[in-house]
């Protein structure tokens, strides 16, 4: 077993509410989430000696502001960039700090406020200039061609995916419909109104082949997790497997490995490679041992790639795999059981990790997955966590 395997645990989780509140400070969301996580873990803030922040100013708040404002005194601090792809990396930095003896209890915080800035891709948004980033934007943007906003890269990869595997674009409805059904059972989900297949088909096209209901609603809120050494009782959730974010010519943030988008090869992971990913190997399990999944879903095609690259089905099979209620409430493999980013809230994946902790503790009330013992969180970018009940 690796040095992380089972020895590091999520001791507490907390979150703010997720409604858009343009008049609020992002520090209010952060404060609510931090204090909820501390209370959940039974800790005082003086016991926090590490702080890893996902999103800094101006969309969030930087680690130094957070520590000073809240009266924390962490001796190990770190921070990642402002996109959603670093949830696992933040948690792994905390786990590594604990295992290396640099800290004992690390607050991992994602707090952001989008309601007072323009939409991502537009000129009054702090990320506007990313579409002109040298050698291409982080989601395939090329502003000089009109290739603006992250949705376009997700749309292009999905178009390519459907063509490569001869799949019908309309099958994608199963993803947002399943997550909305989960959200209906989730008190703090922002989008709880029932969604029908007809609602989905009638939703406004944004960038073909994606529609409005394929997009997660960017909002406001915070999620905090406290990471520390395991062995603190039955409510802790152990991190038994993990792997970091992937990058390189064979990777695109909104596509599976080797789809053939951009400069990717067309060599997809084999089934054996997918089922033997590092996070599984570290945990000593495969996809058959996973009871529920959190899959990064800023756009609805993304969970398809997680299901394939992490071996739940073969390449090109995920659109078929997700039909018939398999990933919805009561399904064989529930995915994003609190509604995901598409319906609960766009919290950069953190809402899903919090939900997996709640589920593994058996505290998910009306949406509890029976006998939930082991969960996978993963993104198409390749980062992943295997979480197990304490």
């Amino acid at each position: 077993m690796s040095f992380l395997g089972g020895k590091t645990a999520i001791l507490g989780v907390g979150a703010s509410r997720f409604e858009r509140r343009p008049e609020a400070s992002v520090l209010e969301f952060a404060d609510t989430a931090l204090n909820a996580a501390l209370a959940d873990a039974g800790l005082e803030k003086g016991q926090i000696d590490g702080l890893v922040v996902q999103i800094g100013s101006p969309r969030g708040a930087d680690y130094d502001t957070i520590a000073e404002t809240f009266g924390l005194s962490p001796a190990f601090c770190s921070q990642t960039w402002a996109h959603g792809r670093f949830a696992t990396t933040v948690i792994l930095q905390a786990a590594m700090a604990v295992q290396a003896g640099l800290a004992t209890r690390v607050a991992c915080l994602m707090a952001m406020k989008n309601s007072d800035i323009g939409r991502i891709g537009e000129a009054d948004n702090p990320f506007f200039h990313e579409q002109f980033r040298e050698n291409g934007g982080p989601h395939g943007e090329a502003g000089h061609l009109g290739m603006a906003s992250p949705i376009a890269g997700a749309a292009m990869a999905f178009d390519l995916y459907c063509r490569r595997y001869g799949q019908a674009r309309e099958l994608l409805a199963a993803i947002p419909l399943a997550f909305r059904a989960h959200a209906a059972l989730t008190d703090d989900a922002v989008m709880r109104a029932p969604m029908s297949a007809a609602d989905y088909r009638a939703s406004r096209p944004i960038v073909d082949p994606l529609r409005l209901l394929d997009c997660s609603p960017v909002g406001d809120g915070a999620v905090c997790l406290i990471v520390g050494a395991g062995g603190n009782g039955p409510r802790e959730v152990r991190i038994t497997g993990a792997q970091g974010l992937r990058a390189g010519r064979d990777t695109f943030i909104f596509a599976p490995v080797g789809l053939g988008h951009g400069q990717q090869s067309q060599r997809r992971l084999t089934r054996a490679e997918a089922q033997g990913q590092r996070a599984y190997a570290m945990a000593g399990v495969g996809p058959d041992a996973i009871d529920l999944v959190g899959a990064y879903d800023s756009f609805s095609p993304l969970p398809l790639y997680v299901l394939e690259d992490f071996g739940f089905c073969g390449e090109g099979e995920a659109l078929t795999f997700v039909q018939g209620g398999r990933i919805g409430p009561g399904g064989d493999l529930p995915v994003n059981t609190s509604g995901g980013q598409l319906s609960q809230a766009q919290m950069n994946g953190w809402g899903q990790i919090r939900e997996l902790v709640v589920q593994l503790r058996g505290e998910a009330d009306g949406r509890q997955v029976l006998h939930a013992r082991r969960a996978l969180w993963a993104s198409a970018g390749g980062d992943a966590l295997v979480l197990e009940r304490g």
């Binding site: 506007f128 090329a142 502003g143 000089h144 061609l145 290739m147 376009a152 073909d208």
Partner: protein
């Protein structure tokens, strides 16, 4: 609110050969001197071998259209009155793909995935530099 913004690509010493050729209507790409293989995006050293020298060469401005996305909503002021428009992924050489602009994606003559397309270099924004586009078919 969408405010007007410049649409200029980053042009510097690394990428200037591409943009200089584009201004003359030619497609010029970097290639690995060791393997002879063209690549994208521009790099000061080959992505295929260690510390490999890079040259530039003209290639035919054509390729196979692999994928297209059609904007029904504008995220940039410049394109607000040009909807719909599309951005296409075009395979220029095996494994080398460029994004290009397509102005009239709903036209009956608009190219579809699988089609061989010829590229041109034209401004898509007022005062902007020539960028790779799929020109409208001449009927």
């Amino acid at each position: 609110m969408i405010v007007a913004e410049p649409l200029a690509p980053v042009v510097n010493a690394l990428s200037r050969p591409f943009w200089a050729a584009a201004g003359e209507g030619r497609l010029r790409l970097p290639f690995c001197v060791t393997t002879g293989t063209a690549f994208w995006p521009p790099s000061p050293s080959s992505p295929f071998v260690q510390s490999g020298a890079v040259g530039w060469r003209d290639v035919p401005a054509e390729g196979v259209l692999l994928s297209r996305v059609t904007y029904r909503r504008a995220f940039q002021q410049t394109f607000a009155d040009r909807l719909p428009y599309a951005v296409c992924l075009v395979e220029i050489l095996p494994g080398l793909r460029l994004q290009v602009h397509l102005a009239e994606p709903d036209a009956a003559t608009a190219p579809q995935a699988g089609d061989l397309v010829l590229l041109a270099f034209r401004p898509v924004a007022e005062g902007g530099p020539p960028v790779p586009v799929i020109p409208e078919a001449v009927s």
